[in-house]
Amino acid sequence: MLDITSKPLVEITGMCKWYGEFSALHDINLSVHEGEKVVVCGPSGSGKSTMIRCINQLEAHQKGTISVNGAEVSPDMKNIEQIRREVGMVFQSFNLFPHMTILDNLTLGPMRNRGVSRADATDLAMHYLERVHIAQQAEKYPPQLSGGQQQRVAIARSLCMKPKVMLFDEPTSALDPEMIAGVLDVMIELAEEGMTMIVVTHEMGFARKVADRVVFMDEGEIIEVAEPEEFFNNPQSDRAQLFLSQLLGH
């Protein structure tokens, strides 16, 4: 199913990051191949979000290397936009642009970064809006949509850039319970189409269903990497056992 012999799409080696004196990430090593789905979990403050935010350099790392699609990503690089077009990102708080219509939210990236014409960008945007089942809202403004709808728009906005890999930073954590399923369905469809995904989430059902590997982090380190069944049924480290018991214990 997965071609592990190919060059990884995202490769992180020996990556470290500090906030002032505080060591936020320590010696992170992770390879993600094309088509692979990786779920990252762990207690809050364990560095999950920071790690994936380093991949598109929303946060700068200080040691080690990150490469995306063969190109090394560094804090002082020029044309970081070239990398970011390959890496889609979905945020916990959606971060749609509230002063633009849904359609303009989607067409902006392709028009500005990829130089796509407005007509083509609109076609592209409508295509992805249909995929996230929200095409009839294209002319509305983000605050007029529910949280779940906004998050689906945010996913469509990232897809419009035709990224090679999608990063999800706790995409369902800010949603009301009845909105979560719709967003997860879109993510599952995306996974089934073969998108490479790195997902920070506490949705263990999603992890079991979709993930090829689960990465467990604590205190800025990767503690355990395993297939989902293996990780949930038979966690190796004490910390993973504790985390899972707290997550599933009630």
Partner: protein
């Protein structure tokens, strides 16, 4: 209870006894002041002499000419419009620099703001004026322009910048005013930029926008909507502050009024008239900005 019953009517707002007493007191105060000026001061009102400086009638031909005060008002209007444009440009650039990570840009903009905010406007304008009028303008040859050259001697130029013979005078006043007001606009813009949530920057970067696009497409449009009310207030302040440049002999409304008051010795009439002119000017801008705010609020919905 019937769910479809109409809601109870709100109580009618009526003026109470207290309101009538307040109105009465204010009216009494106005009448008393008028009485003092009229009877005790024995002031001889002569509005026509001052109004002559608004519009003058040529006795022989019967034609009307606009006079000093209208010309002053025109200059004040030019100062207001160009000053607003320049102060906005300065304010947006400096305001953005205030929020930059680059230390040099932050130091430059910080120094600019602190320098101007902590010197009285009059003092700043004296220093800055003598610097530009004695150093900068001669250096770029502005003092030697030929007012009859085709560029200057046409109605469009005259409409935009006034009399070409007074160009360096006008520009000096304009630059002083814009530099001064720009510092306050800078702080408003900075506050607006900082009020845009961090997630907006991140989302804009994440879809691969270049830094200039992030600012122009995402941050500034949102910041501008947030700062429209304080910005409107600042622009009205700019119009009123333009009176200060009369001190460096810029021939705007206050400068002209000083001349008229001196020539006619009709001090009250002159300044009441000029006060009315400023009020109409500023209030028109206030109404315009209130309308703009409503438009911005509507487009958000």
């Amino acid at each position: 209870m019937d769910r479809n019953a109409p809601p109870p009517k709100p109580p009618k707002k009526r003026l109470t006894l207290v309101d009538y007493i307040l109105f009465g007191s204010v009216a009494a105060l106005v009448i008393f002041s008028g009485y003092r000026v009229n009877d005790v001061l024995v002031y001889n009102w002569e509005w026509s002499r001052v109004l002559n400086f608004v519009v003058r009638v040529d006795d022989e031909t019967g034609q009307y000419f606009t006079n000093l005060l209208v010309r002053g008002l025109e200059t004040t209007l030019r100062l207001a419009v160009w000053g607003t444009i320049l102060a906005t440009i300065i304010g947006v650039v400096m305001g953005y620099w205030r929020t930059c990570e680059n230390l040099t840009l932050r130091i430059i903009s910080r120094c600019y703001v602190e320098l101007i905010r902590n010197i009285p406007p009059v003092v700043f304008i004296f220093i800055f004026f003598f610097f530009i009028s004695s150093q900068i303008f001669p250096a770029i040859g502005l003092d030697d322009v030929d007012p009859d050259a085709a560029v200057f001697a046409n109605p469009v130029f005259h409409f935009l910048f006034g009399d070409p013979r007074l160009l360096s005078n006008f520009l000096a006043g304009l630059l002083c005013l814009a530099m001064f007001e720009g510092a306050y606009v800078t702080e408003i813009v900075r506050a607006g930029i900082q009020a845009v949530p961090k997630g907006q920057w991140e989302a804009a970067r994440a879809i691969g926008l270049s830094p200039i696009r992030v600012l122009g497409d995402i941050i500034l449009p949102q910041a501008l909507r947030k700062i429209l009310p304080p910005l409107a207030g600042q622009f009205i302040t700019l119009i009123k502050d333009s009176a200060i440049v009369s001190l460096i002999s810029i021939q705007e409304l206050t400068f002209m009024a000083t001349e008229v008051a001196a020539t006619t010795t009709k001090v009250f009439e002159t300044w009441i008239l000029v006060g009315g002119m400023y009020f109409i000017l500023c209030y028109s801008f206030a109404v315009l900005f209130a309308w703009l705010e409503r438009q911005a609020a509507r487009s958000r919905r």
